[in-house]
C-alpha cells in the first residue's frame, strides 16, 4: 500500500566523488531560522535536498488527530514556500525512513546527511538505525542540538549521570550550565547560492506536500484552523508576543482570567512543539526585551518558565523509554487506577455533565489547544480528582488532540498532574465547579463551547443540575435530557480519592502519622535540593525499612509490608530447628507451587 515515488535514476549534477550532495532531513525543527544542522550541511555542499518523510498509511491509523495533521501539513507548505524563495523546494517522501534512505542515498549520490538531534528514546533509536544505514552507504552525518536550549546529556552528566527528578533540582543544575548558545543565523539566499537543488518538472506530483484527503481524512465541515501552522506564522506571533510583553512591561507569570482561556494570537506552544519556532530564539528575544525594559538587570529564571518546564520534561524522559507508561517506569508511582472505558469516553467527548470540564474538552477537540490551567483541571478530573482513571489514557487523548503535545512533555505533565511522579503535594484537587467559577464567574467560556447551556444564568452555569426545574425549562435545557447529569458525585469522589492517594503515599514513605502533608516522600519543597530518588527506589527502601523495624504497629492495614514485621516466638523456632536436625518427615508431600502461577497476567 505504501507508494514510493519513482526517483530519477540520473545522477545529478555529475560524478559523485567530485561533488557534495547533501540531504537535510526535517522532522521537528520545521524552520529555516536557527537551524544549525542545515546551516552546517550547506557549507561546501554542491546540491541540497530538504526532505520530510511521512507514511500516508501510518497517518490514518496513528493516534494523531486531524488538527495535528493539518498543523503539520501547513508547516510543510510554509517550509516549501520559504525554500522556493531560495530557489529550492521541500521533498516530501512517502514511506518509512529506514526504507527510504538507502534508496535516496543511491539515487541522489548522497555524501552528506544532516538532521536536528532528537532526544526522545524512540527518536534516538530511529536515528541510530539511519546513522548505521548512512555509514554503510558512506554518507557523512551531521547532527546538531536545536530543539532544546541545552544539550540534555550535559545536564544529566552534571547531575552525576541521573536525570533530575524535581523541577527545583533541574533549576539548580541549569544555573550551573554554560550559557545557552545563540541561535544560528537564518538560511538566506546568500547562503544557499553556492548549492543547487535539482528539481524535476514533476516535483509536485512526486514530492509535493500531501493533502489531508490524501492522508485519508474527511475534511468536509472542517472549520478553519485557530492555530495555523508554519514558521512564518510562528515568527509573526513571536513579535506580537514580545510586543505585548513590552507593552504590559510585566514579566511575572500572567494571572489567569476568563480571557486567558481562549486561544491567543500570541500563543507559541504548538510552534515550539513542531520547531516552527526555535526555543533559543524565543529565549534570547525574551532576555533582550527584559534587559531593555528593566534597564539591564539580569533576568530571573522564572522569565523562561514555559521553556524550562519543557526542557525539564525532555531531560527526565530522554533515557527512559517507559516514560509514557506506568508499568515498568522507574519514575512512576504504581497507582491502582480504574479501567473504565465508558467513563473515559464521557470525559474525552465532553459528556461528563460538568460544564467546566466539558467546555474545556470541546475546545480541545475543536481547536487543538487549551490553557495550561484548563489542562490541570481536566487532567485532575480524569485521574486523582474524580474518575480515578489512568493518566496514560488521558495522555493518549491529548496526543490525539493537543497541537503542542510532545511525547516527553505530555507524559511528564500527566504524571505530574496525576501525582504519579516528581513528588509534589497531592492534597489539592481542582474542583470541577469552583475552579471554573473563580476563573470566569460569568460563564461566557462555557456558553461559547457548550451552546446548549447558553441561556443558563451565571449562578447555575457551572452546576446546572442544581438549578430549579423552572430555570432549566426557561433555559430550554433540561439536565438529564438536553445536557447530561454529572457523571460523579464530586464530594464523594474526592473523599475516596484523597483516601486512596494518602494510602499509596503512606506506603511509599512508610509514614505512620496522621498528617496528610507529611505523607509525600522526600518532599523536595521541604527537603531542599536533594538529588531526588525515584519512586521505584523509594519502594525498595520502604520494603527494606519495613523489614528492619519489627515494631510497625498494625494500624495501617493497607501496608503490604506487614509480613516482614511479624515477630515469632523463639522457642517454637528452636523446636523446629531441633526437629530439622534429628529427623526428616518423609511423608511430607512435596507440593511445589509453580512461581509462574502466583500472578495472573
Amino acid at each position: 500500500h505504501i507508494f514510493l515515488p519513482c526517483l530519477s535514476t540520473r545522477a545529478y549534477p555529475g560524478p559523485a566523488e567530485m561533488v557534495g550532495n547533501t540531504i537535510h532531513w526535517f522532522r521537528k525543527g520545521l524552520r529555516l531560522h536557527d537551524n544549525l544542522s542545515l546551516k552546517e550541511s550547506i557549507r561546501g555542499a554542491d546540491t541540497l535536498r530538504c526532505v520530510y518523510i511521512l507514511d500516508p498509511w501510518f497517518a490514518g491509523s496513528s493516534n494523531v488527530g486531524i488538527s495535528r495533521w493539518r498543523f503539520l501539513l501547513q508547516c510543510l507548505e510554509d517550509l516549501d514556500a520559504s525554500l522556493r524563495k531560495l530557489n529550492s523546494r521541500l521533498f516530501v517522501i512517502r514511506g518509512q525512513p529506514t526504507d527510504v534512505f538507502p534508496r535516496l542515498f543511491q539515487e541522489w549520490q548522497t555524501s552528506q546527511l544532516s538532521y536536528e538531534y532528537d532526544s526522545e528514546p524512540f527518536g534516538k533509536e530511529r536515528d541510530a538505525a539511519i546513522q548505521k544505514l548512512a555509514s554503510e552507504a558512506g554518507v557523512e552525518v551531521t547532527v546538531k542540538v536545536s530543539h532544546t536550549l541545552y544539550n540534555l546529556d550535559k545536564i544529566i552528566e552534571l547531575n552525576g549521570g541521573q536525570s533530575p527528578l524535581t523541577y527545583k533540582r533541574f533549576q539548580a543544575l541549569i544555573s550551573h550550565m554554560d550559557a545557552v548558545e545563540s541561535p544560528a543565523e537564518t538560511i538566506t539566499a546568500e547562503v544557499m547560492r553556492k548549492c543547487a537543488t535539482p528539481i524535476s518538472d514533476d516535483h509536485d506530483d512526486k514530492f509535493g506536500v500531501p493533502s489531508l484527503e490524501e492522508l485519508g481524512f474527511e475534511t468536509e465541515g472542517l472549520a478553519t484552523a485557530v492555530w495555523p501552522g508554519g514558521e512564518t506564522e510562528a515568527l509573526t506571533r513571536l513579535e506580537r508576543h514580545l510586543e505585548r510583553k513590552a507593552w504590559v512591561a510585566n514579566f511575572e507569570r500572567p494571572r489567569m482570567n476568563a480571557n486567558s482561556l481562549l486561544a491567543s494570537p500570541t500563543g507559541l506552544s504548538p510552534y515550539l512543539r513542531f520547531g516552527c519556532l526555535s526555543c533559543r530564539l524565543f529565549y534570547f528575544k525574551l532576555t533582550d526585551l527584559y534587559r531593555k525594559v528593566k534597564k539591564n538587570s539580569s533576568p530571573p529564571l522564572s522569565l523562561y518558565g514555559q521553556l524550562l518546564w519543557r526542557e525539564f520534561f525532555y531531560t527526565t524522559a530522554t533515557n527512559n523509554p517507559r516514560f509514557d507508561k506506568m508499568d515498568g517506569n522507574p519514575v512512576c508511582v504504581q497507582i491502582p487506577w480504574d479501567r473504565n472505558p465508558e467513563a473515559l469516553a464521557k470525559w474525552a467527548e465532553g459528556r461528563t455533565g460538568f460544564p467546566w470540564i466539558d467546555a474545556i474538552m470541546t475546545q480541545l477537540r475543536q481547536e487543538g489547544w487549551i490553557h495550561h490551567l484548563a489542562r490541570h483541571a481536566v487532567a485532575c478530573f480524569l485521574t486523582r480528582g474524580d474518575l480515578w482513571i489512568s493518566w496514560e489514557e488521558g495522555m493518549k487523548v491529548f496526543e490525539e488532540l493537543l497541537l503542542d503535545a510532545d511525547w516527553s512533555v505530555n507524559a511528564g505533565s500527566w504524571m505530574w498532574l496525576s501525582c504519579s511522579s516528581f513528588f509534589q503535594q497531592f492534597f489539592h484537587c481542582y474542583c470541577p465547579v469552583g475552579f471554573g467559577r473563580r476563573t470566569d464567574p460569568n460563564g461566557d467560556y462555557i456558553r461559547r463551547y457548550l451552546p446548549v447551556l447558553k441561556a443558563f444564568p451565571a449562578k447555575y452555569i457551572y452546576d446546572p443540575w442544581n438549578a430549579p426545574e423552572s430555570v432549566q425549562k426557561a433555559a430550554k435545557c433540561v439536565i438529564g435530557m438536553h445536557y447530561p447529569k454529572p457523571m460523579v458525585h464530586h464530594a464523594e469522589a474526592s473523599r475516596l480519592n484523597i483516601q486512596r492517594m494518602t494510602q499509596i503515599y503512606q506506603q511509599l514513605s512508610c509514614y505512620r502519622g496522621l498528617g496528610l502533608l507529611a505523607t509525600v516522600p522526600a518532599n523536595p519543597n521541604n527537603g531542599g535540593n536533594g538529588v531526588g530518588t525515584t519512586p521505584e527506589e523509594i519502594q525498595h527502601e520502604a520494603v527494606a525499612q519495613a523489614g528492619k523495624d519489627p515494631l510497625h504497629p498494625p494500624l495501617f492495614l493497607g501496608c503490604p509490608y506487614h509480613s516482614k514485621t511479624c515477630i515469632f516466638p523463639k522457642s517454637r523456632v528452636k523446636g523446629q530447628i531441633h526437629f530439622f536436625f534429628t529427623k526428616v518427615n518423609l511423608s511430607f508431600n512435596l507440593h511445589v507451587i509453580c512461581p509462574s502461577h502466583l500472578h495472573r497476567d
Binding site: 511575572e252 492495614l557 511479624c566 507451587i593
Partner: protein
C-alpha cells in the same frame, strides 16, 4: 560429611542443589571441612531470610530442596497476607493467582492473622473477596482490611451476601483487634455480631462511608468495646451519646477519631455536637487526635466551628469561606495540621495571622487555590517559626506586594523556617 536423606530426592535433575553443593565444596574447602551445606542452614536463619523475600522469590526458593520447601510452608510466613483481587477488564494490576488462594485456604488459613483484601472496582472481585472470607472458618484473625482500590465495589454486592461473609470472620476469629471496612454495606446487625465475639480485643474500627450503619449501631460498639482506641466514621454517625460512651470510665483512652463530613445534596443540614461532649472527650483522653475531613459546599458550614472543637487535623476538600477559616482560628486551639484546597477570591491574610496567633500547636499547613499576599504569608511563617515542619502553598496564589516579590519570598520564608523552602510549582504547559 553427613547429609540429610531428603536431599537426595531433590537431586534427580543434574542441576539440582547437590550439584551446586559439590561446586561450593570445591571452591570453599574450609567451609566443607566444617560440614557446611546449604540444605543444613538452620531453619531459624532460613526463616529470617525468607521473611525478606517477596512471595514469588520464596516460591522459587521452595523448589530448591525439601528443607526449603518446608520452610516455605512455615506458619510464620503466612501470618500476614494481602489478597489482591483484580479483573483484567477493570484493573491494570496483577491479581493473586486463584491456585495460590486455594493453597492458602487449604494449608494456611489457620496461620493467617493479618489479612487484607485489595479489591478493584469490579463486582466479581468484591464477590471473590467474600468467597474467601466465608472460607476463613478455622482461623483467628487479628486484623482484617477490606480495601477498595478504585470505585467501592463492596457496595454493589447484595448486602446479605456481604454480611454473611463478614460475620463468618467475626464469629470465628475471637480476637479481632483491627478492622477496616470503609465503603462497605456493613450494618447494625453485623456490628452486633462483632461486639458479641470480639468486644474484649477490638482496638481499631475504620468504617467511613458505611451507609447501612446507624448512630445506634456504632453506639453499641462504643458501649461494649472498651479497648477501642481508633475509630473512623462519617459525621452522620457522630453523636453526643457516642462521645460520652467513648469517654466513660470503663473506656481506655481514645487515640484517634476520624470524622468525614460529606455533603450529599447542596444545602444539606448538619446536626451539631455539644461543646460539653467534646469537653468530656478531652478530659477523658487529653491526647486524642481528632481528624476531620470536610467535603461541603460553602453554605453548609453553619453548624461547624461555632464553639471550641478539639480538632487536631483539619482538611477542607472544597472551597471554604474566609468566614469559616476565621472561625477555625478562633475555635480550634489544638490544631496541628490544616489543609485548605480552595477558598473564594479574596486573600486569606487576616485569617492566617489569626490562626498563627491562636493555634499554637500548628505544625503543618497546606494551601491550594487560596490567595495570600506575600507579606501576610511571611508574617504567618514568622509567627509560627520553626514549628512549621510542613508548609505547602502553590506559587501562583502568592500575590506579590510592595514588600516582597516571588523571588524574595523564598529567602524570607526559608530564613524564618531555618531551612530551604520553596513554594509548590505546577508545570506551565
Amino acid at each position: 560429611m553427613k547429609r540429610v536423606k531428603g536431599d537426595e530426592d531433590c537431586s534427580s535433575s543434574s542441576e539440582g542443589p547437590t550439584e551446586s553443593c559439590k561446586k561450593a565444596r570445591k571452591l570453599q574447602p574450609n567451609l566443607c571441612e566444617f560440614g557446611f551445606d546449604w540444605a543444613l542452614l538452620p531453619q531459624e536463619i532460613l526463616l529470617n531470610i525468607f521473611q525478606f523475600l517477596p512471595l514469588l522469590d520464596r516460591a522459587y526458593a521452595s523448589q530448591v530442596c525439601r528443607g526449603w520447601n518446608q520452610a516455605f510452608h512455615m506458619p510464620e510466613l503466612w501470618r500476614c497476607f494481602e489478597f489482591e483481587l483484580n479483573q483484567p477488564a477493570s484493573s491494570y494490576l496483577k491479581a493473586t493467582h486463584p491456585d495460590l488462594i486455594k493453597q492458602i485456604i487449604k494449608r494456611h488459613s489457620n496461620h493467617l492473622q493479618y489479612v487484607s483484601f485489595k479489591v478493584d472496582s469490579s463486582m466479581e472481585s468484591a464477590e471473590a473477596a467474600c468467597d474467601i472470607l466465608s472460607q476463613l472458618v478455622n482461623c483467628s484473625l487479628k486484623t482484617l482490611g477490606l480495601i477498595s482500590t478504585a470505585r467501592p465495589s463492596f457496595m454493589e454486592l447484595p448486602k446479605s451476601h456481604f454480611i454473611s461473609a463478614l460475620t463468618v470472620v467475626f464469629v470465628n476469629s475471637k480476637s479481632l483487634s483491627s478492622l477496616k471496612i470503609d465503603d462497605t454495606p456493613v450494618d447494625d446487625q453485623s456490628l452486633k455480631v462483632l461486639v458479641a465475639n470480639n468486644s474484649d480485643t477490638l482496638r481499631m474500627l475504620k468504617m467511613s462511608s458505611c451507609p447501612h450503619v446507624s448512630p445506634a449501631g456504632i453506639l453499641c460498639v462504643a458501649d461494649q468495646c472498651h479497648g477501642l482506641r481508633e475509630l473512623a466514621l462519617n459525621y452522620h454517625l457522630l453523636s453526643d451519646e457516642l462521645l460520652l460512651a467513648l469517654s466513660s470510665e470503663k473506656h481506655v483512652h481514645l487515640e484517634h477519631l476520624r470524622i468525614d463530613v460529606v455533603s450529599e445534596n447542596p444545602g444539606q443540614h448538619f446536626h451539631t455536637i455539644k461543646k460539653s461532649s467534646w469537653d468530656a472527650m478531652v478530659r477523658h483522653s487529653p491526647k486524642f487526635n481528632l481528624v476531620m475531613y470536610f467535603f461541603l459546599y460553602e453554605d453548609e458550614f453553619g453548624p461547624f466551628f461555632k464553639e471550641e472543637v478539639p480538632i487536631t487535623h483539619l482538611y477542607f476538600g472544597r472551597s471554604v469561606s474566609k468566614d469559616v477559616l476565621g472561625r477555625v482560628g478562633l475555635h480550634c486551639p489544638r490544631l496541628v495540621e490544616l489543609v485548605v484546597c480552595a477558598n473564594g477570591l479574596r486573600p486569606l491574610d487576616e485569617e492566617l495571622i489569626r490562626i498563627a496567633k491562636r493555634c499554637t500547636q500548628l505544625s503543618a499547613i497546606g494551601l491550594g487555590e487560596c490567595e495570600v499576599s506575600c507579606s501576610a504569608f511571611v508574617e504567618f511563617v514568622k509567627m509560627c517559626g520553626r514549628r512549621l515542619s510542613q508548609l505547602s502553598i502553590m506559587e501562583e496564589v502568592l500575590i506579590p506586594d510592595h514588600k516582597y516579590n516571588l523571588d524574595e519570598i523564598h529567602w524570607e520564608v526559608s530564613k524564618h523556617l531555618g531551612r530551604v523552602w520553596f513554594p509548590d510549582m505546577m508545570p506551565t504547559w
